[in-house]
Amino acid sequence: MAASLVLALVVAVTVRAVLFRSSLAEFISERVEVVSPLNSWKRVVEGLSLLDLGVSPYSGNVFHETPLILYLFHFLIDYAEFVFMATDVITAVALYIAAEDFNKVVFRKQRIAFEFQKYAPDIITLVRTPKEMYHIPLKVALFYLLNPFTVLTCVAKSTCAIHNAIIAIFVLATVKGSAFISAVFLALATYQSLYPVALFAPALLYLAQKHYILVNLHSTTFLVLLLKYAVMFLGCLMVTICLSFFLLNSWSFIPSTYGFILSVPDLTPNIGLFWYFFAEMFEHFRLFFVCVFQINVFFYTLPLSVKLRDHPMFFMFVQLAIIAIFKSYPTVGDVALYMAFLPMWNHLYRFLRNIFVVTCMLISSSVLFPVLWHLWIYAGSANSNFYYAITLAFNVGQILLVSDYFYAYIRREYHLVEGLNLKSPDGKEAHVVLK
């Protein structure tokens, strides 16, 4: 298995190296679907040259990266391509190891459930076998490495790749059960873009499950774990923010990074829902709708943690997807990260209802994005509505994908407990609906 992983890594690195050397690299690094004002490489270079000129990079509105990234690239600017290929490799390896470890956890849970006879007698087709689960880690790594979205993000040198790597290591640390490392990387991810703070809940639930702590708000052990994890996370976050202050001797990076993410002043088109909405917003309601949209990202965390408290990994996947869809400046790199988790839920295929429609929507929208952009910006024969429509279609496709997997997941859980061949009270074959 390790050999196939190495082979996959080599293939992926070759593909990226080839694209780096081609003329497409320049074209890709300017695509608005791949880079956003937050993570564009052009803006990183601009920030570095402003630093060289002696002007604070945060005095203008071009640079929105955190100071740690600025200084990272201050030293690594000559090796930028290697850095991005290495981050993709790190992400893939981290996801591989996390998937492997998670498989063991799934197996253990299944065995415990069988021992305590929690499952219905006729669910033999739903049981997960080692044979089917053997290739999942490799598939996860492949899904990430060879996803066109990931390749485009890497070739464009968007710092979203670094963000994905940090989140992947965070997932790995959580799966391995190390609360401290998990808190550190979660703090780094939150420091870079604000939204990963919503991943605190699934990580906490996973760690509780890993350490055999019952998730109960009245249980002191759980509260102790919660407090420990929260203190570690907040402490690391404070340390990184104070370190950034000392790097540049001013707090001006906070309005330029977090203020920018939250207040959405830049309306550059991207694959998200925010840009056109706020381009056409009446000034009077702008603050209200900004708040509504930002709350929408974090809103699902609590209900999901109640519903999925026994399934924290799936919760992690759904939360990542919600962040990728509803964040203020999404790019295809964010989409690629949660799509890498899809092979873990291969066993849900039989319960998926809309997978064909969703796949068609996502593929056709992805293909039409550059076409309609060209028609609007270069040919002048379309207008912004065309690009906006494809944005809507892409986001609806993503929402349907996530909710379809969610439906399939809870349906399988229901069938595991109640059995596959259900009978209605009068003996006839029954159907199951969500009511």
Binding site: E46, T268, E280
Partner: protein, 508 residues
């Protein structure tokens, strides 16, 4: 305020000799006001004093807007900058701290009769006597180029400079193209240009003079005739060249004709002299936008140094509005095929909706070369309320300002005769081996991508629908549970169930 584009390379240096301080080559008029708050004591600048200057700037722009019927009240923080090196205060000023300086330009505004009338009202005799009787709006605005300016500066009242007073200078530059717009005869006269002649001098004027440039009059061949003949000829240096002027002192009653008590200065060309292309000036500049599409572009400035042997530095100040996001790492300066690094660079990046980009550079221009400066930008998508009416017309970028001390082509000595104040104003001679030139390049017109202005309600509905699709799906999945129901009929359902049974999946 100026109108029309003026290509120096085509027309030549001729009309610029009237002014060594401010001349603009914009394609549209703009107001440029420099406030140098010389009355403040020098010391450390704190936030309060900057607020005072900003308040004073706002007051000034609004007062001038009312005074000249110009839309100068549109000057706000989004188009005001604080240049560090390009401008020095005129007159007797103690304060040299550039933080008190404000500069703004409105490239979209145009100059018209409404601005000329209050300008004329500022003159002591108005348009009733003196030279101002010539300034009739219908003739002045039929010209190729029109520019009016007002300068205020403090000057010494006496030689010991114990008191200062304010000196108001009003200048009007007009370029008449009589050859192509007239009858084709090679002659000009005051009557032809202004459809008026001078009748009486302003009684409040201590000096009223007309200068006619007769430098290229070939005395031997007698190429043209000046009517009435020049009573006095003045030889002076302007922009590094010797020039001779016929001086008409309007206070002299003998100039006026006895019968109609009017003076009409006319110049008639005698021989059919072949048209000579005017001399290309030593220092001029052009600016244009390159690139295609509505995503990005590049601002290019070409600066020409036609001096045969001397290189000189030029201070370039570019003000670019915030919605064209400049990338200073793409700044390239090349001269004669090699890279040319500026010796001083001050860059203040723009803040969205607050202040524009300010780029000031001191560039050394090699002799007989063209220096090309290019900087890339990205076009921003604005909120739909921020677009002006007719958004597809484009957005204007105000002209960049080039200031240079140009060396003269000819080596000469300073003319030691004591000149009158008016003459010193028109022909300032700091040092005859160099002269100061301030150039303004063309204003640029740039298109930005526009949203669809008819769609605010539709966009809000559709986006909220997508968010509601997400919310609804998650709400259903989170709050509902699976329940067993009776199978319901329907052909489609039965077919679907058959297919599902074949697949081995539980039926719907």
């Amino acid at each position: 305020m100026d109108s029309e584009r003026w290509m120096l390379s085509v027309v030549g240096d001729g009309f610029r000799m009237m002014d060594a301080v401010n001349r603009a080559m914009d394609s549209v008029s703009r107001g440029q006001w420099i406030l140098s708050n010389g009355c403040c004591q020098s010391g450390s600048l704190d936030f309060e004093r900057r607020m005072l200057v900003d308040t004073a700037w706002k007051e000034l722009t609004n007062v001038l807007s009312g005074l000249f019927c110009a839309s100068l009240n549109f000057i706000d923080s989004t188009n005001t900058v604080t240049p560090t090196a390009s401008f020095k205060p005129l007159g007797i000023i103690n304060e040299m701290d550039h933080k008190f300086l404000r500069y703004a330009a409105l490239p979209r505004e145009i100059v018209c009769t409404e601005n000329l009338t209050p300008w004329k009202k500022l003159l002591p005799c108005g348009s009733k006597a003196g030279l101002a009787v010539l300034l009739k709006a219908e003739r002045l605005f039929h010209t190729s180029y029109h520019s009016q300016a007002v300068h205020v500066r403090p000057v010494c009242r006496n030689e010991l400079c114990t008191n200062t007073s304010w000196e108001l200078t009003q200048s009007l530059s007009v370029v008449f193209d009589l050859y192509s717009s007239g009858s084709g005869k090679r002659e000009w006269s005051l009557f032809k240009m202004f459809s008026r002649t001078l009748t009486e001098v302003c009684p409040l004027a201590s000096q009223s003079t007309i200068y006619v440039d007769i430098t290229d009059k070939d005395k031997v061949n007698d190429t043209y005739e000046l009517i009435p003949p020049a009573p006095v000829v003045l030889n002076t240096t302007v922009h590094g060249k010797w020039r001779s002027y016929a001086v008409y002192n309007l206070l002299n009653p003998q100039l006026y004709s006895a019968s109609s008590h009017s003076l009409n200065i006319a110049l008639k060309w005698k021989l059919s002299k072949p048209l000579v292309t005017p001399e290309v000036p030593v220092f001029y500049a052009e600016r244009y936008v390159s690139g295609f599409g509505l995503q990005s572009g590049k601002i290019n400035t070409l600066i020409y140094n036609n001096h045969p042997c001397r290189a000189f530095p030029v201070l370039l100040m570019e003000i670019v509005p915030w919605y064209l996001r400049l990338y200073v790492h793409t700044l390239t300066i090349t001269a004669k095929g090699k890279e040319n690094k500026p010796s001083y660079i001050h860059y203040q990046p723009a803040k969205d909706r607050e202040c524009p980009h300010l780029l000031e550079m001191l560039i050394q221009l090699p002799a007989k070369s063209v220096t090309k400066i290019g900087i890339e930008f990205e076009r921003a998508l604005l909120k739909w309320t921020e677009y002006p009416p007719d958004p597809n017309h484009g957005f204007y970028v105000s002209s960049s300002v080039l200031s240079a001390l140009v060396p003269s082509s000819v080596n000469m000595e300073i003319n030691s005769t004591k000149l009158s104040p008016l003459s010193t104003k028109l022909f300032p001679t700091i040092d005859s081996s160099i002269y100061f030139v301030r150039l303004y390049t063309e204003a640029l017109l740039v298109n930005l991508p526009t949203p669809d202005f008819s769609m605010p309600y539709n966009v809000i509905c559709l986006t909220c629908t997508v968010v509601a699709v997400g919310y609804g799906s998650f709400y259903n999945l989170l709050t509902r549970t699976f329940q067993i129901v009776e199978p319901s009929g329907g052909v489609a359902k039965r077919i679907a169930n058959m297919i599902r049974r074949l697949r081995g999946v539980p039926p719907i």
